[in-house]
Amino acid sequence: MKPTDITNPEYFHKVVDCQHACPAHTPVPEYIRMIAAERYTDAYMINWESNVFPGILGRTCDRPCEPACRRGRVEEEPVAICRLKRVAADNKGEVKSLMPTAPEKKNGFKIALIGGGPASLTVARDLAPLGYEIHLYDEWDKAGGMMRTQIPAFRLPESVLDEEVGYVLDMGIHTHFNTYVSSMKKILEKDYDAIFVGTGAPKGRDLPDLENRKEADKFVHLGIEWLASVAFGHTTKVSKKVIVLGGGNTAMDCCRTARRLGGEKVTVVVRSPFKDMKASPWEIEDAQREDIPILNNMPPKAFVVEGGKLKGMLFGKVAAIYDEHGKRSLISTGEPDIFIEADEVLIAIGQDNAFPWIEGDLGIKFGKWDLPVVDKTTFQSTLDRVFFGGDAAFGPENVITAVAHGHQAAISIDLFCRGESIYNRLPPTTNLVSQKMGIHEWSFDSAVIEDPRYSVPHAEKQVALKDRKVEVELGFNTGIGFKEAQRCLNCDIQTIFNTSRCIECDACMDICPTSCITFTPNGEEDDLRKRLKAPANNTTQDLYVSETLNTGRVMIKDEDVCLHCGLCAERCPTAAWDMQKYLYQVTKASEIWSISNL
């Protein structure tokens, strides 16, 4: 293998698994250390710079960081990253003065944002400090998009949402609420220099061909529409017996909301096996905790209507069969159909993009699944001044992905307005600094804490089920927040190897608790992975290869389960190893808040 090029910004970026997995590449270990140091405001600002909605995401994020967390590879459970984000948000001090403001003098460009969700708000935040005049359109009377309409208040209190949406809107954003944009043509006719479409995936999937669907219509609701109607107070009650169809997070939100609006016997019925359910495991757990049974392998067959009233639904029984490619098919088991009583049914089986308001002759092309043709880097559509982001661009994802799209779209819009090539994008900001303070002294807590993951306290069930606005998860207090923060392995503190200093005493190889380091003759990667001190079977993690040493061998470090404990550097007599903090920040359209303020 060739020596590893550690000057490539992506090399160490990959080692910081959580940050790499985060679509917005939030510097996770950096803010976790701030929480441990009780510097909640700084922790919040690190988040806010990257993901715009720390308080919201600290409650509702899909957490792609957590399955990626290295801790999950050396022990049972990852660091509770999402809940720590909430600790920062809950305990922060005054932050408004740390945020950029829109300049009095505008730069002369006007931007329209269609849809007031996380993607549009991110574009607004990144562009407002540059002097853009920003107009935000939304059909509801408040901004927030799906964060407001689809996430129930018992998971995300309105006050948290209003606060963080407010930080963006307060940057002089012109809002056009209660304004459903019904024609892209009309928007294009106005004098906007660029238009960003962040309208999400607003169309809930239905089961139009299911028997008696029409007859049952009065008692059947589409999940996301029903949740929105609850959020805005239009729906306040539900019948006693409710069936929720679907196995995603929307289904979990529907069933739990139904429990709070009078649903006594709420049942979730899923077509697929339990392990294939799309809902996050913690959402499923929360639903089960509220006495909601989840029935699997049961596809719906018919609505049963008698005398104009819904009586219930019929379900078949299937088993999941996987072929050699892992492709699943649901095969009927031949068991008799099952009838489940219900007064109302909520259909939450997925959602689609829908752009009935974009006329076909505008030059905005649509491709597969009626999704717009959008460039994956620039988020530009086939009409050069129209950009897409969030669920509207590539189909339903999540809030943090929408934020990541927003950052990139903002960069494109800024370059486009200034007449520069939108492919002329800046690389990320990176920095690598030694953490050495003295012999055996580092400027980070290098000791590895062995505590298992801390669980989060919940509101009492009886209280929570009475009021849909009572938040269920109570979050960590600062004490447990500190303990959980200490579980972080500081993966951004990199082990840097200097070949010319090494005297090959083997001290690092001998001390490494997780057998990551091997001195061995060089070879091909496949061969090397087999003959290291411990097998390096996780090929998603790189091998760090040194230049050739005096004895003709090379140092190979398997990044997979490195604890970043610093023992290699502490046991090195010649400081050939050093622990250096690697900062990686996605460059935004404007400088929002510099981490060097810390």
Binding site: P513, A534, V561
Partner: protein
């Protein structure tokens, strides 16, 4: 600051024949200087014991005083241990071995502990062929007392303080050969490929097995002009052969050109396989080992590897015809066989 080694280990660590992983053979975190050769030797001992699937409770670690003698804390924390008076480890080992012949005895000593204060003890353990492994972590200086020259410092070498050593070095390997030790080897802490099979062979040897391991003292004796530094040893390393230790039950699969390799069968059926043999050297011929050693010395080489093995080794128990069970397992009727036996013994002396 990390003074504690984290408990997390690689989740896919291989297991040995008795179900242990290598970390089961580890000890406390070392307090020796960073980069000390002794730590590498400790790691080699851990590796060898893991590979031999030794049950930790079947091994006793014995040591004297010095940096080297601190190391038993840093490996095999589930084994027995005795940290004796300076230089007196051979007596403790002899006594322990007499009392319980079933344990594996691993003595760890240094150049001060063996070649100076403990020399009188060291030679008698060899002479008696006590069944033990005797590892000398040889760094050519008194590291624990700030790096003064030791009895194994080569003549003409300068200490870190600048003083030149006027006295010739005691070569423990040469001495052991002279005393007809039954297993003599030398190695280098920075060469685990050689050291681990040597330790394994030494453990299998029924008798006194000396391993003189050059172990650089990074703090006081790692200057390029020191003959015990990493650079010097690597530049002057000369091996008798490359060595493989093959346990009894494993089939030998690698074959080498005739004349270039030798196989030494051990009493327990295991085999030491040597290849790329040095010329004019036979591992079972003491004279050739002495000759080879002297030639290397004259050339300024550090000769490593297995130097000599006596396949007909008879250890102290064998020579004394002692009882074949540990004393603690003898019952009263065996210890006091009655007046009839006593009368017979007395009659022998009449």
């Amino acid at each position: 600051m990390t003074y504690i080694k984290p408990k997390f280990r690689h989740p896919e660590l291989p297991k040995n024949d008795i179900g242990y992983v290598k970390s089961d053979y580890e000890g406390a975190i070392s307090t020796l200087c960073a980069g000390c050769g002794h730590d590498s030797i400790s790691a080699a001992i851990v590796q060898a014991c893991f590979e031999l699937s030794i049950e930790p409770h079947r091994l006793a670690k014995l040591s004297g005083i010095g940096c080297s003698s601190k190391t038993p804390t840093y490996f095999l924390s589930n084994s027995h241990g005795f940290n004796s008076v300076h230089g007196r480890m051979p007596s403790i080992a002899t006594g322990a071995n007499m009392a319980n012949r079933d344990l594996i005895y691993l003595g760890v000593s240094g150049d001060g502990d063996s070649a100076s204060i403990g020399m009188g003890q060291f030679v008698h353990a060899i002479r008696r062929n006590v069944n033990m492994v005797y590892i000398v972590m040889n760094n050519g200086c008194y590291g624990l007392t700030k790096g003064q020259n030791s009895a194994t410092t080569d003549a003409g070498a300068t200490s870190k303080a600048g003083g030149i050593n006027n006295y010739p070095a005691i070569d423990l390997v040469g001495l052991a050969l002279e005393l007809e030790a039954t297993f003599v080897g030398r190695s280098f802490s920075g060469d685990k490929n050689q050291l681990v099979p040597l330790i394994k062979a030494a453990i299998s040897h029924p008798g006194f097995a000396l391993l003189d391991v050059v172990s650089p003292c990074v703090t006081f004796n790692n200057k390029p002009e020191s003959t015990k530094s990493y650079d010097y040893v690597r530049a002057h390393l000369e091996a008798t052969a490359t060595i493989d230790y093959v346990p009894e039950k494993e089939e030998i699969t690698v074959s080498y050109e005739p004349g270039m390799s030798a196989m030494v069968e051990m009493h327990d059926g295991s085999v030491i396989q040597l290849h790329k043999l040095a010329p004019n050297w036979d591992p079972c011929d003491r004279f050739s080992a002495v000759r080879r050693l002297q030639t290397a010395k004259a050339k300024g080489e550090v000769l490593t590897g297995l130097l000599y093995i006596d396949q007909n080794s008879r250890d102290m128990h064998n020579l004394e015809q002692t009882v074949d069970k540990p004393l603690n397992s003898l019952r009263e009727e065996e210890l006091c066989p009655g007046s009839g036996v006593l009368a017979r013994v007395n009659a022998d002396f009449r």
